[in-house]
């Protein structure tokens, strides 16, 4: 284990101090979760989607570091007023990292997890309705795969795998 300096930029700090769109949404159309507390980060997204498949409202809750909180918050800003197809095709973890003004490299996974949770929410929206739009790929995207991997790791950790073993994984 080593400690890595984390010089967060002012935008990350600002969204950490005053997160936008924070909190549970009671009238959400779809909710999706990614991550696990054992890995140190977990995000829930709430999306209110109208009949034209446009995100009217988005909010989040997050168990995680300042970067996790800030990236989740900025994702909720980025999706507002946009069509699900546009969101799917334009929002990637790189885009989110760029939008937030950059992150320390050890924190890239925060953006990845946030986008993983977002894509899960979109997938779930169509699954709930039994619809498969042509633009929605069957295969999981990079971000979704990463989220799955992290959750699998958490399940292994729950079996009390010691950190030494985890380092080699």
């Amino acid at each position: 284990m080593s400690r890595i300096p984390l010089p967060y930029n002012p935008k990350v700090l600002d969204l950490f101090r005053n997160p936008k769109n924070l909190g549970k949404m009671d009238d959400a159309t779809v909710t999706a979760v990614a991550g696990n507390p054992a890995c140190g980060d977990m995000i829930t997204f709430y999306l209110k989607i109208n009949s034209e498949e446009i995100v009217e409202k988005a909010s989040f809750e997050s168990y995680g570091c300042a970067a996790n909180i800030a990236t989740s918050s900025i994702v909720t800003e980025m999706v507002k007023g946009k069509h699900l197809e546009e969101i799917w095709s334009t929002i990637t973890w790189k885009k989110v990292t760029e939008e937030i003004g950059g992150l320390p490299s050890v924190k890239f996974h925060c953006g990845v997890l946030a986008v993983g949770a977002l894509k899960r929410a979109i997938r779930k929206y169509y699954q709930d309705r039994g619809v498969q739009p042509t633009w929605l790929p069957k295969d999981l995207t990079f971000e979704e795969k990463q989220a799955v991997e992290e959750e699998e790791l958490a399940r292994m950790l729950a079996k009390r795998l010691k950190p030494e073993a985890e380092k080699q994984s």
């Binding site: 284990m1 890595i4 549970k24 507390p37 890995c39 829930t44 168990y63 050890v106």
Partner: protein
């Protein structure tokens, strides 16, 4: 990068008070220690102690006197047993590597505990590349070393045992005297090292009474300057130096001695050992106030490590459930309370503290852990301010977590 840090620092402007509780990772050097050091930079004893001129002889005299006094604080027999090194990390590297190499023909096994400091764990790992094997003795939920497992682990092939007298993260005061006698009973030629950095100045600690062969002490852990520490090596114990260079007064560490830092370390030691009992009582009172205050103000908190007399008087390690540690350290910092979290970010996983995992904490509990140590220089007002800040900071972070991550 620097611009980001400047902005982070700007966000701290206008703080009403600042309370530094991260004594594990660095410290505030005491004013008296700083003042004691100053003349040694440019007024006297600035020479190399191994050379034949007045400033050199002054440095020689100063270092010898500091060795003598620190030997007394450790209850060692001779000043020659005190070896100045640049810090705790270096002392532990020297103790493990230098001793393993010196006795490599007697055996190839090193026994440590599961909860040793990172530097001890890493050196033990490195020594495996040189043909040594390492056994890690388990601990119980309070962090106490399992003495039966220690008895089983030490054998004829064992050259070295290393167990810290006080655990640096959870403050467990180990039964070192018993551990030494068990280890030597199993193998009389085994060398016993203890990292006493968190014991020195906090609990009664005597190298003679405990029977240890090697002991590490760190200057900054008692509010002396960083950049110096001591490895006590009992007379007759062979330890090889691990760095090459010009040897002067310090037989185990090459390079020019750091006279001002050594003086600062000596001064900090003197302050801690003058009125030792009152000093310890002061730390304990403030620590208890801090822990009790947090427990009274917040639900879902857990004390990590033992309670009562077998916990170091300064150590407070608390897990805040439903609260991520790094976020909490930043929130507290913005309010002027400086602490550290047990978990550290690596690649995409948060690595929990190996100590908290070893005592059976769940990962999510470890990730919400905060380590604090009360200092000799803390006041009642410092603790009162920390207690004023803590509840709202924890509540805000828990508010962001909401229903996410509830176990």
């Amino acid at each position: 990068m620097v611009e980001n840090v400047k902005a982070l620092l700007k966000a701290h402007e206008g703080l009403r008070r600042e309370v530094y509780l991260d004594n594990e990772n660095s410290c505030i050097v005491r004013r008296e220690s700083v003042e004691a050091m100053l003349p040694y930079f440019n007024q006297r004893a600035y020479g190399n102690p191994a050379l034949t001129h007045k400033p050199g002889w002054e440095a020689f005299e100063t270092i010898m006197e500091c060795s003598r006094e620190i030997a007394d604080f450790l209850d060692a027999d001779a000043a020659e047993e005190v070896n100045f090194v640049p810090g705790e990390t270096e002392a532990n590297n020297l103790a493990l590597m230098g001793t393993a190499f010196a006795y490599r023909n007697q055996g190839k096994k090193i026994v440590i505990s599961e909860i040793e400091p990172i530097n001890v764990l890493h050196v033990a790992e490195l020594l495996q590349k040189y043909g040594f094997s390492t056994v890690k003795v388990p601990v119980d939920s309070g962090g106490f070393v399992n003495l039966d497992a220690l008895r089983e682990a030490v054998d004829k092939d064992t050259v070295l045992v290393s167990i810290a007298a006080v655990n640096n993260e959870i403050g467990t005061v180990q039964p070192i005297k018993e551990a030494v006698s068990i280890a030597k009973d199993r193998n009389p030629s085994v060398i016993f090292h203890t990292d006493a950095s968190d014991a020195y100045g906090r609990i009664r600690f005597s190298v003679k009474e405990l029977g240890v062969d090697l002991a590490t002490v760190s200057s900054y852990k008692i509010q002396g300057p960083r950049g110096t520490g001591v490895l006590y090596v009992k007379e007759g114990v062979r330890t090889e130096k691990i760095l090459e260079g010009q040897i002067g007064t310090q037989k185990l560490w090459p390079g020019v001695e750091n006279t001002p830092m050594i003086v600062g370390f000596w001064k900090a030691s003197e302050l801690v050992f003058e009125g030792f009992e009152e000093n310890v009582a002061h730390m304990r009172r403030l620590r208890d106030k801090l822990v009790e205050g947090i427990f009274a103000a917040l639900p879902d908190v857990r004390l990590n490590g033992p309670s009562g007399g077998l916990r170091a008087p300064d150590n407070a390690n608390i897990s805040f459930l439903r609260c991520e540690g790094e976020a909490l350290t930043i929130e507290l910092s913005l309010k002027g309370v400086y602490v550290s979290s047990g978990s550290a970010c690596s690649r995409r996983l948060l690595q929990p503290s190996h100590v908290l995992v070893a005592i059976g904490r769940k990962y999510s509990e470890a990730h919400g852990s905060i380590l604090m140590k009360t200092l000799w220089t803390h006041t009642e007002e410092d603790i009162a301010y920390a207690l004023e800040v803590f509840p709202s900071a924890v509540e805000r972070i828990r508010g962001i977590v909401g229903s996410t991550g509830v176990d």
